[in-house]
């Protein structure tokens, strides 16, 4: 590997996970952690960035405990955080179906689903806490789906063999988030949480090696202020928008995490991205985002493409024997229900060969004709009506009469800021929760487990582990005039001044789109040594051009959406480069990371456990990033090759 791209540093020393039997570790950690006396909590300030599942649950719980919390989000209301968009459901090892589920099985499935690139201790804790999450949410009034007997309904999800997914129609994320949001608003009324909406964190303040605050911009007035505290929690979500087109909300960004990374926090496994197989394909250059169609559609829909290349016929005119049901053909055991990474890649393969349908040949059919024949239109409508309606609104095509067209799209980022077992980054006082951290999903996230992780982190894990850190507080007061605080502010001011002063001629979006294309082409579903090297070059060139030609209109002291975007895209450039470097250095295939050079004879992902059974934690370096390896130990689940044939 060319030394220009990165350097290797010391391995990560300690993840702080307690030793001993895995099922006792979390209990042990909770007991060994120091507590903060209730009277002292009032003297401790905690900043929480983000009001998604991970942020709102943490802020509300810390507020209830009596800490003084300042909570931030860039949307106009905490309720609009991107978690609201999750559709499918949330896992929990309740075993309400008596179908053999248990904490251990959820733990096992999640480690395996992550293709053996996650930490056993963390995943086990997640599985343990999962049951408490459901209890908590029900107590808050979350209207989960129920059966006629009045008990909670479950469904199986993402190829799991047990029914452990709790759901609320197709709006699970919304209902869970509203539960957390309402708990948060209760604390706002009680005065324990000071909530700042339409505020964006632009810099982390590190004083004497500890995270002590953030610099924020009021997105309405443009005012820049500094908020100082005893600890900072980042719950700022994922960075899938580096691809420009993704299923994420338009505002999702990496800025909070990236600013912390630049201040010394490690960024782990940045290249692990999840590409979801069932999204509505792009229809043209105007496209601003891609829409997910719930994975549940694959339960009844059959995926196919025409056997002949560039077939422009109406799907109804293509006879059965000229159709290729390629998932059923290649994976007879799982058929249309293979996991996300496998279904996505298979779609890419047939489209690359020229069998794709729809604009640009980037789409495959998801056909309900058989299901309608078998179950009747009514039954199909009852099950998927709202999804069909959504599809029709977006594409103008009626999926009852014509098969849906779907294509994979970027959906979730498993990578994120590195944290230890306590959810603390390597900067003391900086904690990271939810999609923003890297911790629990390894190289591939199973369906319905991101919601679980966000709430687990926010309601149960962080409030317990952060007290151990805060027990040393309150830390010595930091003055606004402190050199490090001033420096952080200055960086923000200078960046804004640069954007507004730059006499460019290209819009921010045009750069973002171009960056996204590079990322998708070379760091998307399939990655090669050659492609990644090329991408790094392209990104560097584009970044140079960005700083030369980007044009931002308006002023700093007003609501200026272009200015917001410019800062986010600037950070995406640096992140994109790191993602490519990470993908380049990991010459194995695992989960969502598919290196063309590392595949089995049948074209499946091939892991290289001897050389890559580690977390890649990257340290920011001016010239080149520094790689710190955290090796992964598997005591309970022995790594095997995943097979879905």
């Amino acid at each position: 590997m060319s030394i220009d791209y990165y350097r290797e540093g010391e391995p990560v020393a300690d993840t702080k996970a307690p030793a001993g039997p895995i099922s006792e570790r979390w209990e042990k950690r909770r007991f060994s952690g120091r507590l903060v006396n209730p009277a002292n909590r009032r003297k401790l300030r905690v900043i929480v960035v983000g009001t998604g599942l991970a942020g709102a649950s943490a802020a509300a719980t810390l507020g209830e405990l009596g800490y003084r919390v300042a909570n931030y989000c860039f949307q106009d209301s905490a309720r609009r955080a991107h978690s609201i968009a999750a559709q499918g459901g949330i896992n929990a090892a309740k075993n309400y179906r008596n179908d053999g589920d248990s904490v251990h099985r959820l733990f096992y499935d999640t480690v395996k689903g992550g293709d053996f690139r996650s930490r056993e201790s963390n995943v086990h804790r997640l599985a343990e806490v999962s049951t408490e999450i459901i209890d908590q949410c029900v107590a808050q009034g979350v209207p989960f789906a129920r059966e006629y007997g009045g008990l909670l309904d479950n469904r199986s999800f993402g190829g799991a063999q047990v029914s452990r997914t709790f759901y609320a129609r197709g709006q699970t994320g919304q209902q869970l988030l509203l539960g957390a949001y309402q708990a948060l608003q209760r604390q706002v009324a009680a005065g324990t949480v000071d909530l700042h909406t339409r505020h964006e964190m632009l810099e982390l303040v590190v004083v004497d090696g500890r995270a002590r605050g953030i610099v924020v911009r009021d997105l309405v007035t443009g005012e820049i202020t500094t908020e100082l505290a005893d600890a900072v929690v980042l719950a700022s979500g994922g960075y899938g928008n580096v691809f420009f087109l993704s299923t994420n909300a338009k505002g999702c960004n990496v800025t909070a995490s990236w600013r912390a990374h630049r201040k010394g926090a490690y960024f782990a496994n940045p290249c692990y991205t999840q590409i979801h197989p069932t999204c509505i394909p792009q229809s043209g250059d105007h496209q601003s985002k891609l829409t997910l169609m719930s994975e549940s559609l694959r339960n009844d829909g059959r995926v196919w493409v025409p056997k002949s290349k560039h077939d422009e016929r109406h799907p109804a005119d293509i006879p059965e024997d000229e159709r290729d049901y390629y998932l059923e053909r290649r994976y007879p055991a799982f058929g249309n229900l293979v996991p996300r990474d496998i279904a996505s890649r298979a779609a890419k393969v047939v489209c690359d060969e020229g069998h794709g349908v729809g604009p640009g040949g980037l789409g495959v059919y998801l056909d309900f004709a058989d299901a309608i024949k078998r179950l009747g239109k009514k039954a199909v409508e009852a099950k998927y009506g709202n999804l069909f309606d959504m599809y029709e609104r977006i594409t103008g095509e009626n999926p009852y009469e014509r098969p849906m067209r779907i294509y994979p799209a970027v959906h979730y980022t498993m990578g994120g800021l590195w944290v230890d077992y306590d959810l603390s980054s390597n900067i003391p006082g900086l904690f990271v929760t939810g999609e923003a951290n890297f911790s629990d999903h390894g190289a591939n996230r199973l369906g319905a487990s991101a919601l679980m992780q966000g709430l687990s982190d926010g309601y149960f894990v962080l409030p317990n582990t952060i007290s151990d850190y805060l027990a040393d507080g309150p830390f010595e007061a930091v003055s606004e005039d402190h050199e490090d605080v001033q420096a952080a502010r200055r960086e923000v001011d200078e960046r804004i001044a640069f954007f507004l002063g730059n006499d460019g001629d290209r819009t921010v979006d045009s750069f973002h789109r171009e960056l996204g294309k590079i990322m998708w082409e070379y760091c998307g579903m399939e990655r090669t040594d050659e492609g990644l090297r090329k991408a790094i070059g392209l990104i560097r060139d584009l970044k140079a051009e960005f700083y030369k030609r980007v044009k931002v209109t308006g002023k700093a002291e007003e609501l200026n959406q272009q200015l917001e975007k410019a800062g986010r895209v600037a950070d995406f450039f640096e992140l994109g480069e790191l993602m490519c470097i990470d993908a380049l250095h990991r010459t194995e295939s695992c989960g969502g990371h598919f290196r063309a050079e590392s595949q089995t004879d049948e074209g499946e992902a091939k892991r290289d456990d001897d050389n890559f059974s580690y977390v890649a934690a990257w340290e920011y370096g001016e010239d080149a990033p520094v790689l710190h390896k955290e090796s992964l130990v598997f005591e309970y689940v022995k790594p095997t090759q995943r097979s879905y044939k």
Binding site: R45, R68, A70, V188, A189, A190, G191, T192, D194, H196, T225, T226, E227, L228, E480
Partner: protein
């Protein structure tokens, strides 16, 4: 520290708690008062309408009915007791109805100070109710004043004999006074529209039915409104067209 952690919300929370202790001054509280007064007036008006139909039984019957109202309960109760109970109830209802109407309309006006540049046809269940009710209500109010001058106080009615209600009615709608009849019909239309919305609206405000019952209430409101308008209108029409004289 620039953003101080003084809970910004504590002060407003206290203020709000205070407001919550006076629920009847809230929009919904006033609306309930309006609905109750409206329903009382509806009851009065139904009785009134039924009473008016005595006119088709002839002068004697009609006047006996009117006298009966006045002498109800005599000699145990003083003269016109029932009528005064009704009147006081009615005056109170009108007062409450108008007062709440003014306060709520003013608040609504502040809540929606700017109009849309592009006006679009309404598509709700009671289109334009807010306008019909407010302006219709004013028409009804003007009508009642005329009506009292005409048939109760007889200020503008040729028949001054209080005991001859029949005569007064016949005189009021004499074919020569056709504009009066037209005015009555217009006012009745306003009343009908007012009640078509008002009756279901009052049920919605007081009882809060589910969707099924809301739809039923809307149908009932329409039926009652039509019956009331028809029941009233038939009297002036019959007189004007000479069916009753």
């Amino acid at each position: 520290m620039s953003t101080d952690l003084q809970p910004r919300t504590a002060a407003t929370a206290a203020k709000r708690a205070q407001a919550a202790r006076k629920p009847w001054r809230s929009n919904i509280g006033l609306k309930i008062a309006m609905a109750v007064s409206g329903v009382l007036m509806v009851l009065f008006i139904i009785v009134h309408m039924a009473g008016n139909l005595h006119i088709f039984e002839g002068r004697e019957e009609m006047n006996a009915y009117a006298a009966g109202l006045r002498s109800f309960g005599e000699p145990l109760l003083p003269h016109e007791s029932l009528l005064w109970v009704l009147r006081i109830g009615l005056i109170a209802s009108i007062a409450v109805h108008i007062w709440t109407g003014i306060v709520l309309s003013a608040r609504a006006h502040h809540a929606r100070p700017v109009k849309y540049a592009h006006r679009h046809k309404n598509r709700g269940e009671s289109r334009n109710a807010y306008l019909n009710m407010r302006f219709g209500g004013i028409v009804i109010f003007l009508f009642v004043i005329w009506h009292l001058l005409d048939l109760t106080w007889r200020t503008v009615n040729p028949v001054k004999d209080v005991h001859d209600a029949y005569g007064a009615v016949v005189a009021a709608f004499d074919p020569s006074r056709w504009p009066v009849t037209v005015f009555y019909l217009l006012a009745l239309t306003a009343l009908g529209i007012h009640l078509r919305h008002g009756i279901w609206s009052a049920v919605q405000t007081i009882a809060g039915p589910d969707t099924k019952w809301r739809k039923r209430t809307q149908a009932i409101a329409l039926a009652v409104a039509v019956i009331i308008v028809a029941g009233f209108a038939i009297v002036p029409l019959s007189v004007t067209f000479g069916l009753v004289s």
